[in-house]
Symmetry: C2
Subunit: 444 residues, 2 copies
């Protein structure tokens, strides 16, 4: 038998990693709930017809297909693993529209699978945490998503910048530079601004068929600096002849005004700020209004949250004109940020509090009884299952970071006590059961 | 575009189902943690070499195989979806044995996939909740699993019977009736006692090659009634010449004695009892010691929890002689029991508490501000995102079971108040923000 392994790009999570991941999921989901979002779950596998053609040609190739062992090899598998949470959600809305009361506020925290080439920070199985409002065009939803981002990262202790743009402004810019049909080329190119710099972007734009004049007009927009208000003034002026562009400027103004009015916006700080970024274009073909992206101020890791408004999510499944807006938190990258900055809470709240160590069979019966009493008080307690050597039992407590050890030897048995050892300080106390429970109340 | 659907045997879970399922998972896992079990997670996909041959010929056929879209059709897929949590756990122990300090107490709550024919109560994707101790032969572990079962079902409010047997007793019985080589046939047959009755079991035993004499000797064992102690006396006497059988009786006696000593066993009640069942044989080829099975007293649904001791879990992956004992809670069946008996708590604790209803744009700004204040106090609050008709906004509160609605019209705006409506009683109160927060403190 060869040494067992796991498929490349997948991971085992030990209990420490699992508890840290749960800390992230729980933080995110408790903020979602503060805003009235409700959790749903969809199956890991979807019909291939649901998945195919939704992620572009490249995406189709990255789908994992599922075959029953009973099926003949070569037979086209009709099922595939979920590639994201958005398409299953669109499918869910269409299938369950009779039960749903709109606006529908849902969140979903589940793994997705992609047959991407595995590399540092990129896995074939990873979790997404998606939150969406469906069935309203109100910009209050955009505001709430911004507030959610702010509160999640406040709770996690991560300093972030939320970048904001609007697809309609991008359309307005394309009109302004005289290339309305080139909007996709323009945004694909300027999306790379961070990576390849302004000169290369200009080269790419020329290659993609933009005129020298268009590129000249675009240049000051790429170089735009200043406060959100200054940028908005400039861009409003540039796109003033574009109906769509002007609408986009208005939408951003409204979102920023709501953010001010909410009482949260007065405190743009190092910990959180909203910055207008006219070069932000992610997933353009998809989004129709607001576009969001969140980056850590302190860790270079790319976007840790992103999303936007889409006006026709469910159209692909035959239910047109349902507008929605949503964002997705990338749990793996958030994990890496918290690790890099050592921001995980020291106590995961899941650790065993007391280990009973017994020196014989009779002592162990006492340990079992006492452990039962402590557990009925809600304490997490273990009984070392054998009357092994003291050293071995203490080593177990050490390895598992258990802060207190309650030792029962013959003396303790005779006097119906335990010797409680504080594993950090080494301090020992002989305690009755009543004393033990009050000691733990005071010390934990 | 055809109407979208999901693969047969899979399910969508709306927010009410998800919250009820979470209630079950959370209850189970908080009891696991009381006993010091730590959570791990393994990938959804495993190497086919890890899975094949572990579940018998029938099981191999029920594996879901995974293929990258990039792979050629007909090429043998080398990955498959997890079929249970036990084999991945064995693989995990072998891969991570250097990091693990034994005894290793882990739990795992994740979905598994089987290409079974879907039918009522049987799905192709379902959750298992497994808890195991690895690396000790101590019967204290068996005791703790019994205590865990008792506490989980006490918290869930389900009345259950835990049936207990020992594989060594089954071996002793096979020796006693003169058919030690027929132990598998015997147990396969008597496992059906509940379903087909004693006469049919006897017929099957004869068909399987047992002598008339063997069947005659087995009969009183099948018919054995009485208290646990009475049954143990009888069986101890019958298997007294079998070393293995005698060891099995001793093990059960020890577990029952520990259970008495723990202070829990004195209260065998309608809510929970431990019953010796010498015909219990589930998964015999696997188990080597204790065998457990739990049934609801009030819902006919088969076993809702089961497990046992296995002496060689990791041997298949090249790490022999690691004894372990574990049980698995079947979340789907538990869900069905709680539904049938209407035992889910009325409040899931995830519902929105207050919906702000505003009659105009300016009013909505106030609603956003007030909602922010309530959320900072930890309340789950929604702002209806449009100043729609009052009726529409109240219908949303109704549909989402939101208990309080805070209405802001022009009068409330002018006086910086809300009209708080209790959606159950219809009672209305005009409140300032301070009054609102203290009202909610008193009423929720």
């Amino acid at each position: 038998m060869n040494k067992p392994s796991i498929p490349k790009g997948t991971r085992d999570f030990g209990h420490e990693e699992t508890s840290r991941r749960n800390y992230i999921f729980n933080t995110i989901q408790s903020v979602f709930r503060l805003y009235g979002f409700q959790q749903i779950e969809t199956p890991a596998m979807e019909q291939m017809s649901t998945l195919m053609g939704k992620y572009g040609e490249e995406g189709d190739k990255l789908l994992f297909r599922i075959q029953n062992s009973g099926e003949k090899a070569g037979e086209a598998p009709e099922k595939g693993l979920r590639y994201d949470l958005t398409v299953p959600f669109a499918r869910y809305i269409v299938m369950h529209r009779q039960e749903i009361s709109f606006p529908f506020k849902r969140f979903q925290i589940q793994p997705v699978w992609r047959a991407d080439r595995p590399q540092k920070g990129r896995y074939r199985e990873f979790y997404q945490c998606d939150v969406d409002v469906i069935g309203t065009e109100s910009l209050v939803s955009e505001l709430e998503l911004i507030e959610i981002v702010k509160e999640v990262y406040r709770r996690l202790g991560l300093r972030v910048v939320l970048k904001l743009n609007n697809r309609k402004i991008l359309a307005g810019i394309a009109e302004y530079i005289g290339a309305p049909d080139k909007i996709i080329d323009i945004t694909v190119a300027i999306d790379k601004l961070d990576k390849i710099g302004e000169e290369k972007v200009k080269e790419e734009l020329i290659e993609r068929g933009l005129s020298e004049e268009s590129v000249r007009l675009l240049q000051p927009i790429l170089a735009l600096r200043g406060t959100n208000e200054e940028k908005l003034q400039t861009i409003a002026d540039l796109v003033k002849d574009s109906e769509t562009g002007t609408k986009g400027v208005e939408e951003i103004r409204t979102v920023l005004r709501l953010y001010q009015a909410s009482g949260q916006g007065n405190e743009d700080t190092e910990a959180f700020s909203v910055e207008l970024d006219l070069t932000l274009a992610r997933g353009l073909n998809y989004y129709t209004g607001a576009i969001f992206e969140v980056k850590s101020r302190d860790v270079q890791i790319g976007s840790i949250t992103g999303g936007g408004r889409y006006d026709n999510l469910t159209g692909i499944f035959g239910l047109p004109d349902v507008s929605g807006v949503g964002i997705s938190f990338g749990a793996d990258r958030i994990y890496d940020c918290l690790s890099a900055l050592d921001l995980f809470p020291p106590e995961s709240g899941s650790q065993t509090e007391v280990l009973f160590v017994s020196m014989g069979e009779e002592e162990m019966l006492n340990a079992i009884r006492w452990a039962g009493v402590l557990r009925s008080q809600g304490r997490r307690v273990e009984v070392y299952p054998d009357p092994a050597k003291m050293k071995k039992q203490l080593a177990y407590a050490d390895a598992n970071h258990i802060p207190y050890v309650a030792i029962i030897g013959s003396e303790e048995l005779a006097s119906q006590t335990v010797t409680l050892k504080d594993m950090h300080t080494g301090e020992q106390n002989r305690l009755t059961l009543t004393q033990l429970t009050s000691y733990l109340e005071q010390h934990t």
